[in-house]
């Protein structure tokens, strides 16, 4: 965020109201989820009138959080913005936006993905592929491949190759009692096991999870309140 843009906008707006934020890709207008939409429109109009030159030609993305805009509201909003000479962008690719998507993905929709259960140890040369989540009740040995469009859960040791979110779902996770794989992939990100531990197995045995964080796959222990922290309803 460019600090200059932020301070300029923040200073002119009173605390609970619309907020402008500047990103590399352009400006983002954040309209609070609660409160009267009309009030916010008036506020926006004032804003734009005060600094016409600053806003002219700028690219603007709009975030409304959980607030659903009806056709009418959307029309007025776009009219105001266009009058000020701004270009509306459909989305912005900044961390804050992807967090919003993540929250949505974890809601009931996420639970409705079909799952398949594999009741055996998946051995070298065996490949399990499924357009959904895969649950393995057994180990996944080196040389085996598990490929899921959704999440992968292994109730045993994961030592083969696992690819979760194979269709590009970066929110997919891989759980196992022990993660010591040949290779892990989530969406298009992949990682290898450290070379050192190749011969000797890990001796500890506690649930672990692999996920994408900051464009890299991280493997960490599943703490007792892992899911509490993840789903803050």
């Amino acid at each position: 965020m460019t600090d200059a843009a932020k301070s300029r906008q923040d200073s002119s707006s009173n605390s609970p109201g619309i907020v402008f934020k500047g990103y590399k890709s352009g400006l983002t207008l954040i309209i609070p989820e609660t409160g009267s939409f009309e009030t916010y429109l008036d506020e926006l109009r004032n804003h734009l009138d005060q600094a016409k030159d600053f806003f002219k030609g700028a690219k603007l993305a709009i975030k409304t959080g959980n607030r659903q805009l009806c056709e009418e509201e959307r029309f007025f909003l776009l009219q105001i913005i266009e009058e000020a000479g701004m270009v509306v962008q459909p989305t912005v690719n900044e961390p804050e936006t992807s967090k919003k998507v993540k929250k949505k993905g974890a809601s009931p929709q996420g639970m409705l993905i079909p799952s398949v259960t594999v009741r055996k140890t998946v051995r070298s040369g065996q490949r399990i592929e499924y357009e959904g989540n895969i649950l393995v009740m057994g180990d996944v040995n080196p040389g085996a491949e598990i490929i899921a469009a959704g999440d992968i859960v292994v109730l045993g040791k994961l030592r083969g190759t696992a690819h979760a979110g194979a269709n590009g779902n970066r929110q997919a996770e891989i759980f196992a009692f022990q993660i010591k794989p040949v290779q892990i992939r989530i969406a298009e990100v992949y990682t290898r096991a450290p070379e050192k531990e190749r011969l000797k197995d890990k001796r500890y045995f506690s649930p672990e999870v692999a996920m994408i964080r900051d464009d890299r796959i991280v493997v960490e222990k599943v703490t007792p309140n892992y899911f509490n922290q993840k789903y803050k309803y």
Partner: protein, 264 residues
């Protein structure tokens, strides 16, 4: 009478399938069982050499399945035991010369007359492997304690499951206690941890095996040999007896001995 058909397989080459087959077969014959060894490694036969019977081959496995000779004619009687026979592979043919159904038929025939039919499986997972396991009731998997051999053994276990051969048993061959001690070799637990199948035996790496293999005399007959006694234990377990797993006793060194004493 209905004999047991056991296939000895590994996936990876050079881990000691042929030596194991020869030793188990000879060990069973030592106990007075009627045994036939089938070399299914067509084109790369070795079992006859290890058994020292190379110069007696007239007919082979391919002749038998193509019915150019009777099964009895192709069976070579061992020079030491009257109850031990070898059905050699053809050296000048290919694996595709035999079909799985023909192997099944052959095993069914031999089963009538022998207590044990041991099949020496070729390396790999192609036609030769499919032939070798076609008629088998049981499987013995041979591996060495290294990552690639264990990986291949794992693959084989999966394939055997797919072919509905139940519960293969494992022989870990060429174990070197000194290397395990130093942490340079997978130990028995590491192998077991991945493969997770019943352990039939652990055979230490023993130079005497190389000597006896070259001489054509299986080491199971030598009472002084470590590998020989490991094979005798394996044979006992195949026969359903309880046999102790030999401790791979290596010299611990004085400090380790004292440390263990104190621990007790």
């Amino acid at each position: 009478m209905s004999g047991r058909v056991i296939v000895v397989t590994s996936g990876k080459g050079g881990v000691g399938k042929t030596t194991t087959t020869a030793n188990i077969g000879t060990g069973l014959a030592l106990r007075g069982r009627k045994v036939v060894l089938i070399d299914a490694d067509i084109g790369l036969r070795n079992l006859d050499v290890v058994m020292g019977l190379e110069n007696r081959i007239v007919y082979d496995l391919v002749n038998v399945v193509e019915k150019t000779c009777k099964t009895k004619q192709a069976l070579i009687k061992d020079k030491r035991f009257d109850s031990l026979f070898l059905l050699p592979a053809a050296q000048t043919r290919e694996k595709t010369a035999v079909k799985p159904e023909q192997m099944r038929e052959l095993c069914a025939e031999l089963r009538q007359e022998f207590d044990y039919i041991l099949i020496d499986c070729p390396a790999g997972i192609e036609q030769g492997f499919k032939n070798a396991i076609a008629g088998a009731d049981e499987a013995v998997i041979v591996t060495t304690p290294d990552v690639s051999a264990v990986r291949d053994a794992d693959r084989i276990i999966g394939l055997l499951q797919a072919h509905e051969i139940p519960a293969p048993r494992l022989i870990i061959n060429r174990v070197r206690p000194q290397m395990i001690k130093k942490g340079d070799m997978m130990d028995i637990d590491d192998v077991n941890d991945i493969l997770a199948i019943e352990l039939l035996g652990v055979v230490p790496d023993d130079e005497a095996v190389i000597v006896s293999t070259n001489r054509g005399e299986p080491s199971v007959m030598e009472s002084g040999s470590k590998a020989g006694s490991a094979f005798r234990n394996i044979v006992a377990r195949i026969e359903g007896e309880e046999a102790p797993f030999m401790s791979l006793d290596y010299d611990l060194g004085i400090f380790e001995k004292i440390r263990r004493l104190i621990k007790k």
